[in-house]
């Protein structure tokens, strides 16, 4: 009886440690990691503009830097529901006007830059999206589980595709076996 109580106490503590590790340590770590990645993107954007002598007062640079700053600052509030909230708010209230105007303004500002600088800004934007999506998925338990299942399904699909590509060898052998069956 006493042994069972001790085991129960140890097991409960172990589970609570795991709970703490996930809900406090891991969550904080993910936030720090995402911010570090976003800072790196911002630094690289700055370094590229500095190296090539592109103007820091270019509108596209300003928009990109402000957007990155916004994501860095409010990263702790970023989640899939907030993401959909922003999309819904824009679509339902402003008929997508907010996003459309941002895109127009961004593209117009981008056109003022030389080709290389445009690619540099677009690369920063792509990387920012990748980091944000990864953060949203991996900081949610449910989304992580869904993503893990989706990843397994993707791997299965790839495996089946590889197997199907080699299907002619399999078919040829089956045909030979089939022929032997007929002759027997």
């Amino acid at each position: 009886m006493q042994d069972a109580i001790i085991i129960l106490a140890i097991n409960t503590l172990l589970v609570l440690f795991l709970w703490h590790l996930y809900f406090f340590e891991y969550r904080t770590y993910r936030l720090d990691l995402t911010r570090q990645r976003l800072f790196r993107i911002r630094d690289e954007l700055f370094a590229e503009f500095d190296r090539h002598g592109w103007p820091f007062d270019a509108r596209a640079y300003g928009i990109m830097r402000r957007t990155l700053n916004g994501v860095i600052r409010f990263n702790h509030r970023l989640s899939l529901s907030r993401y959909w909230g922003a999309v819904l708010a824009d679509r339902e209230v402003a008929n997508g006007e907010l996003g459309r105007r941002f895109e127009e303004e961004f593209q117009a500002a981008l056109a003022e830059l030389p080709q290389d600088a445009q690619e540099c800004v677009l690369k920063a934007r792509r990387e920012m999206h990748d980091v944000v999506i990864e953060h949203m998925v991996l900081s949610s338990l449910l989304a992580t589980l869904v993503a893990a299942v989706a990843f397994c399904l993707f791997l299965t699909h790839r495996l089946v595709s590889v197997l199907l590509k080699k299907s002619s060898s399999f078919d040829a052998e089956a045909e030979i076996v089939g022929r032997q069956t007929i002759s027997a």
Binding site: I5, L18, L21, G85, V93, A94, R101
Partner: protein, 142 residues
């Protein structure tokens, strides 16, 4: 001050959204924020409550108050579970430590060039510890 206000107003005009639209957007945004916070709280404290509930049930079962011992309760008082949970915890803690260290090194690598550039600007004869950009010992110094 007037110029700042003016440019702010221009910014609003450029986006071309009325005040009521902005309020509505903020309202939806706040609602989404609430859903996020609620979801996080339910996941965090809900799971803690589930752990507490099963621990309580296990105590009752051991004391003979509750005679119905389901699989979760019997798991909580089994030695196999102790080994399994300890293994998972140890692995998770090792991975956590490893990635925390990697993150710290990433930050050092990102920041060191600014520190070096600033110090070089102030002191052209600045000397260096010659550690790697990530703050590690150089291979030839080992």
């Amino acid at each position: 001050m007037t110029t700042q206000k003016g440019s702010k107003r221009d910014g609003k005009n450029r986006r071309g959204l009325s005040d009521s639209t902005k309020v509505e957007i903020r309202r939806i945004d706040a609602r989404a924020d609430m859903v996020t916070k609620l979801g996080h709280s339910v996941a965090k404290y809900g799971s803690a409550a589930i752990i507490a509930f099963f621990a309580y049930r296990a105590v009752d079962t051991l004391a003979g108050v509750d005679t119905f011992a389901d699989i979760t309760v019997s798991w909580l008082v089994s030695c196999k579970m102790t080994g399994f949970a300890a293994l998972i915890l140890a692995l998770a803690a090792l991975l956590y430590g490893h990635y925390q260290r990697k993150l710290r090194k990433d930050v050092i690598e990102r920041m060191h060039r600014y520190q070096a550039a600033y110090e070089r600007e102030r002191d052209p004869n600045r000397t260096s510890s010659k550690l790697t950009p990530r703050g590690d010992t150089r291979k030839e110094d080992l």
